[in-house]
Symmetry: C3
Subunit: 220 residues, 3 copies
């Protein structure tokens, strides 16, 4: 099984960066609540890799990458250690962190969806699995720390870009399976999708674009 965005050292580097930054964000939540080092390590690990763990359990692709892949696990744990020391710096990097978090959402959505398509899931199932990969890590972290999950709390677009990215990835995968797209086209499109997810998320925060809530109806 080969994912387009894991096909060369550059993409793998980006994925490790995404895992590392997700871990930083997760560990930072534990630091803010004054938990100890173990809590930071566990929170960093689950934030970085929890989405993929849930995806692999739902796919039946066991043991999950998030507990079996030495590189990813060590990266996640190192991010937990790093945040114990560098939390003041991490805390200041709001826009950088926001960007890298959006990058990880995009990357995890594309890779999660592609992995599901390669394992023969339908398009709809793959979209769910892509979104689970993208959003699951933050969900597990927030359930652990007793917060309402960020994709529910955050009024800005968070789930929407991951949904858009996952749906577009399904079309790319279908194009590849129909031999309409070659490998290079797949890579180019996957990268574009990740960029689109990042841009959607950043624009939403920058210009305070939010989803509507329930319709307000006073006449009833």
């Amino acid at each position: 099984m080969e994912l387009a965005l894991e096909s060369n050292a550059f993409f793998m580097g980006v994925e490790y960066l995404a895992v590392f930054c997700c871990g930083l964000m997760g560990g930072l939540c534990a630091v803010r609540k004054n938990y100890d080092l173990i809590a930071m390590l566990i929170t960093a690990w689950l934030t970085a890799l929890g989405g993929g763990i849930v995806r692999d359990i739902v796919l039946g692709s066991l043991p999950p990458v998030g507990i079996a892949d030495k590189g990813f696990v060590i990266t996640a744990l190192v991010s937990g250690l790093a945040v114990a020391v560098f939390h003041p710096e991490v805390d200041k990097l709001k826009w950088s962190m926001l960007t890298i978090d959006a990058l990880s959402v995009g990357l995890f959505a594309v890779n999660g969806t592609s992995k599901a398509m390669i394992l023969g899931m339908s398009g709809m199932t793959s979209v769910f699995l892509g979104m689970i990969t993208a959003l699951g890590g933050g969900l597990v972290r927030d359930m652990l720390l007793n917060d309402v999950p960020m994709f529910i709390r955050d009024k800005h677009w968070y789930a929407i870009p991951s949904a858009v990215g996952s749906v577009l990835t399904v079309f790319v995968c279908k194009g590849v399976q129909a031999r309409v797209l070659n490998f290079n086209a797949e890579v180019a499109l996957d990268v574009s999708i990740v960029v689109l997810v990042v841009v959607m998320r950043l624009l939403s925060v920058k210009f305070n674009i939010t989803m509507p809530g329930a319709m307000v109806r006073h006449e009833v």
Copy 2:
């Protein structure tokens, strides 16, 4: 694999109705907490189908119906959209909603138990899986929205009827496997079990019948 209560259009219609109404109840929780449309859709989906997803993961029957069956997924998502518009009406339907919620608990208990028995699980395991199907959706919703699960919070009977329904379904399935019951008898008994679950739940709410708590002992 054929579930008795999915054997004809009427039963399928009832199941779709149960999914839809569970979704309405879930979405309503998100509306009450002022979350956005995405939160409503996710909450509606997980309330309606989360129990079955957990059951399928525990059974190893992957991918779970709740992310793979187009009909159920679309029904659940439509219920999330519907509640965004019709939440004032849904909010007023207390007894109707209570009844349909009880109906879904009964139906999901019977179908969850039957599915486990058909897949060769023991009676005890099937009871657990039936109860997980019946109660899991509300559990996932409440964990997501940071509430204590309803089957713990609600003093009225909620888990008890699902347990009774699941246990009775095991006996029906054993009767079918032993060729003591034919298909029509199975359908009739399954329907009776669903009705029993609904009646138990409604009587408990109506007459404020509750389970005892811990024994109060002042002498210690």
Copy 3:
């Protein structure tokens, strides 16, 4: 598949005792929050067996022992009933309960890790699965009752002893696989690991030994 610490009646007895006491601790949390009998039973069951259930789902070893093994399930449910009556006594047994809880953490870590190694997982994956078995029950209980998990809240060593126990168990299993250790040596070492975990946990509580938190840095 044979686990060293399930190889004779004495070890099985210890495991049942651990399940029973975990169940008591879980049920007690429900009693303290004034929930009803059903909540006590569910909390007792999930505290006692939830860690193993999560481990078996992650391992793909289905159906999980925690819903399929009559002996363990009945033990867990009986502990839930027992705590409804004997909660004042259980509440007073602080150090006894702490010791038996530590015993269950040690035992579940060793058995969880061994089970994963026997099923062919790598050492790192087995450590995760051992820790999940040891800590998962309390995690599920605390998520259910809307608390921050004990291994995050409790400043004393809780996750650390389970990690040490799991890592040491991996070495023992590797010794057995390399035929350096015979069965009796494995049993002796496994027992020593459990004792070590208990001692680490108790010393940490007794002498208030805690993990450091994030580094405090005022210069930034």
